[in-house]
């Protein structure tokens, strides 16, 4: 298959699928509305030429994302180009066998337009609902992922571990498309063990790059890059890095700030702490004109090195659906075309392209 994308980097959006009231009206979308709007943002992302749509997974209110492969399977059928991913897939509380089955199936339906990001989930009460304990979070992520890898790579698996019933002569079906397992990113905000895990396997590492100062994010990414090289996967600058970011745009910077502020001030994650201005100064949150968002995003390369995937969060905290769709328009029409050009021009030729099913298949066939 020819390169479908401007393959120096992939750009897209990621959502956590939260339901929140619009502070102006006090009204929150219904679950039905929120699910359908999430689908519309994915379709819009494809329409404006973005490369990736990723959705989170939560099993508690106020989220509507308990069944990601159902939603992604629907989006697959309504799209033809965009790569679908997760942000994140809970490697702790899900059975790795079910992850192997669900995402291999999705991979077949999507003709390979699928990858995954593993995450632990940081909501303590969720773990016991699935028979787990958040204090085992790292151990669960390590053991479950080790099994998941084997299920996708070995036709018949005998396995025994601490957290799951043993497997004897088990074959996970369907087998991955073309025998190529989906590419895996490991996402973590602040657990060095997860950066280590990503490096050990030569998988991708994704930092959500929201909420925390860049100095912290840089330490996580530097650790991943250093250990990627240590484990023999290639030079540190060839490690596969993805970054998040949160943006809100209007033609005029002051309009963006004025519109975004009530959502920020009432947000369960941002509200009643550092001000919007302080947060924009201390973290990568970017609210302003498209040009300002371009400038901020180009700085990520200076902070973290050349990287492969940039996802923006544009739809949380009760932002009105129309405004969300307009954010995706800004990204597709004004921001991402410039970023592709600028990042592409700055990028040395030895930096790997973002992984796709086709690129992984080509490597496997060599």
């Amino acid at each position: 298959m020819p390169r479908r994308f401007h393959d120096v980097m992939h750009f897209g959006i990621f959502t956590v699928g939260d339901i929140a009231p619009d502070p102006a009206t006090g009204r929150a979308p219904t679950e039905h509305e929120r699910i359908n709007r999430m689908i519309e943002t994915a379709l819009k992302a494809e329409e404006v030429g973005l490369d990736v749509f990723a959705m989170g997974e939560h099993h508690n209110p106020p989220f509507v994302t308990s069944s990601p492969t159902t939603v992604l399977g629907y989006i697959v059928a309504r799209t033809s180009k965009i790569l679908l991913s997760t942000s994140t897939t809970l490697i702790t509380t899900n059975d790795p066998v079910k992850i192997a089955e669900d995402y291999a199936t999705l991979q077949h339906l999507a003709d390979g337009r699928v990858d995954l990001m593993m995450g632990r989930g940081n909501t303590g009460p969720v773990y016991p609902w699935f028979g787990k304990d958040i204090r085992d979070g790292i151990s669960l992520a390590v053991e479950n992922y080790a099994l998941l890898r084997r299920l996708w790579r070995e036709d018949v698996v005998d396995w025994q571990g601490r957290f799951r019933t043993p497997l004897q002569s088990f074959t996970s079906t369907p087998r991955p498309l073309d025998g190529v397992p989906p590419f895996v990113w490991h996402g973590s905000i602040r657990s060095p063990e997860i950066a280590e895990q990503a490096a050990y396997y030569g998988d991708g590492f994704f930092h959500n790059n929201i909420f925390w100062p860049k100095e912290h994010t840089r330490r996580m990414i530097d650790l991943y890059r250093t250990r990627f090289e240590f484990y023999g996967h290639g030079p540190a600058d060839q490690a596969i890095v993805g970054l998040g970011g949160q943006v809100y745009m209007r033609r005029r910077s002051q309009d963006a700030i004025a519109e975004f502020r009530p959502f920020f001030d009432n947000s369960p994650v941002y509200g009643h702490g550092p001000s919007l201005e302080e947060t924009m100064e201390q973290t990568p949150l970017a609210v302003g004109s498209p040009q300002e968002i371009i400038d901020r995003t180009l700085q990520f390369r200076e902070h973290f090195g050349d990287y492969q995937r940039q996802l923006f969060n544009v739809d949380g905290m009760g932002l009105p659906h129309q405004a969300v769709l307009e954010q995706i328009d800004f990204l597709g029409e004004e921001v991402v075309p410039v970023l592709r050009k600028e990042f592409g021009a700055l990028r040395p030729s030895h930096i790997p392209d973002p992984p796709t099913h086709e690129s992984l298949k080509a490597v496997q066939e060599r």
């Binding site: 151990s139 060095p192 063990e193 280590e196 996580m220 941002y270 702490g273």
Partner: protein, 205 residues
């Protein structure tokens, strides 16, 4: 050897009696450490200067730059002098928040660190606040809290007290702190991003 003593003072007024006590404790500790043969630098942190940043840290999860500098001063210090006013029979909320976010930043921040605790209050009847609430806080954080704690009540500032019992306790506490500092190497900062070999993580499963 050059030592540093971090002084955390949680008084709100200016001048505050907590700061007055902190200054007396740090002056005595400075003298005692020098007498044992080390150089010493005292770094004072007024918790009030970081009031907003402390609350922001609880909400956002990360410290603003100024606060981070203050927390790192404590982490890197050879010894700690911590003084709080007594509010509703306990440490002040701001004082507690400072140590809450210190623990968030580095769970080993006070491990094996010599700590001298002091408190002020509106009446001497509060004096056991040091033993009942403040000492357990620092014990929990694995600090080495010296046996003598120093409470200063209004009458201690009156100047007419003879003999000067406060000065006597200050000197004894400072000598204990200096002795604990003396017997330790300088603290080595732990790097939270130090790699854990993946084989160890796999093995732990």
């Amino acid at each position: 050897m050059r030592r540093t003593i971090a002084v955390v003072s949680a008084g709100l007024g200016s001048p505050s009696s907590s700061r007055l006590l902190a200054d007396r404790l740090s002056a005595a500790a400075d003298r005692e450490v020098r007498e044992l043969g080390d150089e010493v630098e005292v770094r004072v942190i007024e918790v009030r200067d970081h009031a907003h940043d402390l609350v922001d840290n609880l909400v956002s999860g990360y410290p603003a730059a100024d606060l981070k500098g203050a927390l790192e001063t404590v982490i890197g210090a050879d010894g700690l002098i911590a003084v709080t006013p007594t509010f509703t029979a306990s440490y002040s909320g701001l004082f507690k928040t400072f140590f809450d976010v210190l623990d968030l930043l580095d769970g080993d921040a006070l491990a094996d660190k010599p700590v001298l605790i002091g408190a002020t209050g509106g009446t001497a009847r509060h004096s056991l606040v040091l033993e009942n609430t403040i000492r357990p806080l620092f014990t929990y954080l694995r600090g080495v809290v010296v046996p003598t704690s120093v409470f200063a009540a209004p009458e201690d500032w009156g100047g007419a007290a003879v003999p000067d019992l406060l000065a006597h306790r200050v000197d004894r506490a400072a000598a204990q702190l200096a002795g604990e500092i003396r017997r330790r190497d300088a603290p080595v900062a732990r790097d939270p991003f130090e790699p854990t070999p993946f084989a160890d993580l796999l093995g732990a499963g």
